[in-house]
Structures are given as structure tokens and as C-alpha cells.
């Protein structure tokens, strides 16, 4: 499964459209993940997870920045995300199954906010992109 030129162009175009709202959507995706997949909350026992939480918002911003980095480096995701992969594997020790839950909730969030842009082809490109990101994030798990 390779990210084609068309996939990359589609993802970049959508990201340009999201502009400075990436943080808002990443935060919503996190909220959806915690609500729909409660086991993910086990990694955030030290967080206030109530709606509107400042900690979740701050974490959403981190996730958004990482995704924006990924969009800018689609030709070398393992390289661009290697430090984050090390962090998740060795310090945070997050089971990689959880990356899929967040990825799915990101798709749900984007579909909810940009229904007109979320046709089957865009859906496919985004899903592929997130799969590659997840794979890069899981690469340090050894």
C-alpha cells in the first residue's frame, strides 16, 4: 500500500482547507476516542477528561502538530515520526491498537465537519495516509 501522488495531493489540499483549525479537530477526535473507546482513557488517568478540558485541548494541539508534520513529510513518515514512535513505544508504552481508534475518530470528525469534501476517493486517501502514520508510529515497537 503506497501513497500515490493523487493520495498525497488530496491530503495536502484538505489540510490547507483545515488551516488553523487542525487543533480543534484533533481535540474533537480525542474526545470522540475517549467516549467511543473508553479503554483508551487508561492512558490518561492523570488527565481531566471532562468536556472542554484544557488538558485534552493541549493534547489535541500536540496531535495536530504531529499530523501537520506528517502531511509535510509524506515521503518519509518513519523518519519524520521516529522520535514520536520511540516516545510511544518506550516511554508512554501505548498499545498500538489505540492508534487505530484515534485514526478512525479523526476520520469521523473530518467527515462530520467537511461532508462535502469527504467523498469515497478522499475517504480512501485519508484512510491510507492515517494507516501510514500509524504504521510509522508503531515502527519503534520492535
Amino acid at each position: 500500500m503506497v501513497l500515490s501522488a493523487a493520495d498525497r495531493a488530496a491530503v495536502r489540499a484538505l489540510w490547507r482547507k483545515l488551516g488553523s483549525n487542525v487543533g480543534i479537530y484533533a481535540t474533537e477526535a480525542l474526545e470522540r476516542t475517549f467516549t467511543a473507546f473508553p479503554t483508551t482513557k487508561t492512558y490518561f488517568a492523570h488527565f481531566d477528561l471532562s468536556p472542554g478540558s484544557a488538558q485534552v485541548k493541549a493534547h489535541g494541539k500536540k496531535v495536530a502538530d504531529a499530523l501537520t508534520t506528517a502531511v509535510a513529510h509524506m515521503d518519509d513518515l518513519p523518519g519524520a515520526l521516529s522520535a514520536l514512535s520511540d516516545l510511544h513505544a518506550h516511554q508512554l508504552r501505548v498499545d498500538p491498537v489505540n492508534f487505530k481508534f484515534l485514526g478512525h475518530c479523526l476520520l469521523v470528525t473530518l467527515a462530520r465537519h467537511y461532508p462535502g469534501d469527504f467523498g469515497p476517493a478522499m475517504h480512501a486517501s485519508l484512510d491510507k495516509f492515517l494507516s501510514h502514520v500509524i504504521s510509522a508510529l508503531a515502527s519503534s515497537y520492535g
Binding site: 470522540r32 475517549f34 467516549t35 467511543a36 478512525h104 470528525t109 467527515a111 469527504f118 469515497p120 475517504h123
Partner: protein, 147 residues
């Protein structure tokens, strides 16, 4: 067995009541075939699946999509007995169709994404959570008779 609270049942049934199955019939199955192209392996006799637009416009995809959504509708009327509702279909998917149950999970998530795009603001995290529970329950019920 999955237990749905009254709130979860309401979240599911009220949204489903607004879905036009006839209009939406090809969307979930179509997107499954587009996004996870390997799922096309089960539909070799469906004709033209060569592009996203071919898939989404394919009459056999729409017809089969309608069967699938109708089945979901039956599940929603019997949320307390998903295993019962899907017993026969489970046997069919295992013994005759040889479908990996992972595909049921993929289809369930595609359906959730479509609902999000149709219902926007109404598809709150809480509503999504109820639907995730339903699609997981359906996937499990469909896999229940596998051997």
C-alpha cells in the same frame, strides 16, 4: 451479550429513523469496496469495480448495499438479541461466503463515518459511542457462528 442503555437505544433508533435506506443503499458497501479495495474479493461477479465512481454507481453494489442496510435495520429493531437476529446470516457468511469477520468491523466503521458526514452536529461523541457499540455488536453477532 451486549446490553444497550435506554439512552444508547434512543441515540441509535432516532438517527436510523432519519436514514433513507433507499437513497443511502450503495454508500456503505460502496465505500468499503473503495477504501479497502481487497474487500472486492467477495464481489468478483459484480461487474465494473474499476474506479471509485464505477463502484459507487454499480447497480449490483447498490442492490447488495440495500440488503446490508435492511439487515442493519432489523438489528436496530432487536438490539437486545443481535446474536439471534444474525444467527442464520452468520452461518451463511462462514460456510458459504467465507468472509473474514474483520470485514464486518471495517463495514461498521465505514457506516459510522457516513452517519457522521450526513448528520454533522447531531453526531455527537455520545451518539457515536452508541453506534460504535451497535456496529461492534453486529460484527460480533455475525462472527458468532464461525467455526
Amino acid at each position: 451479550m451486549v446490553h444497550f442503555s435506554a439512552e444508547e437505544k434512543t441515540a441509535v433508533t432516532s438517527l436510523w429513523g432519519k436514514v433513507n435506506v433507499e437513497e443511502a443503499r450503495g454508500e456503505a458497501l460502496g465505500r468499503l469496496l473503495v477504501v479497502y479495495h481487497w474487500t472486492q474479493r467477495f464481489f468478483d461477479n459484480f461487474g465494473n469495480l474499476s474506479s471509485a465512481s464505477a463502484i459507487m454507481g454499480n447497480p449490483k453494489v447498490k442492490a447488495h448495499g440495500k440488503k446490508v442496510l435492511t439487515s442493519f435495520g432489523d438489528a436496530i429493531k432487536n438490539m437486545d438479541n443481535l446474536k439471534g437476529v444474525f444467527a442464520k446470516l452468520s452461518e451463511l457468511h462462514c460456510d458459504k461466503l467465507h468472509v473474514d469477520p474483520e470485514n464486518f468491523r471495517l463495514l461498521g466503521n465505514v457506516l459510522v463515518i457516513i452517519l457522521a458526514s450526513h448528520f454533522g452536529k447531531e453526531f455527537t461523541p455520545g451518539v457515536q459511542a452508541a453506534w460504535q457499540k451497535l456496529v461492534a455488536g453486529v460484527a460480533t453477532a455475525l462472527a458468532h457462528k464461525y467455526h
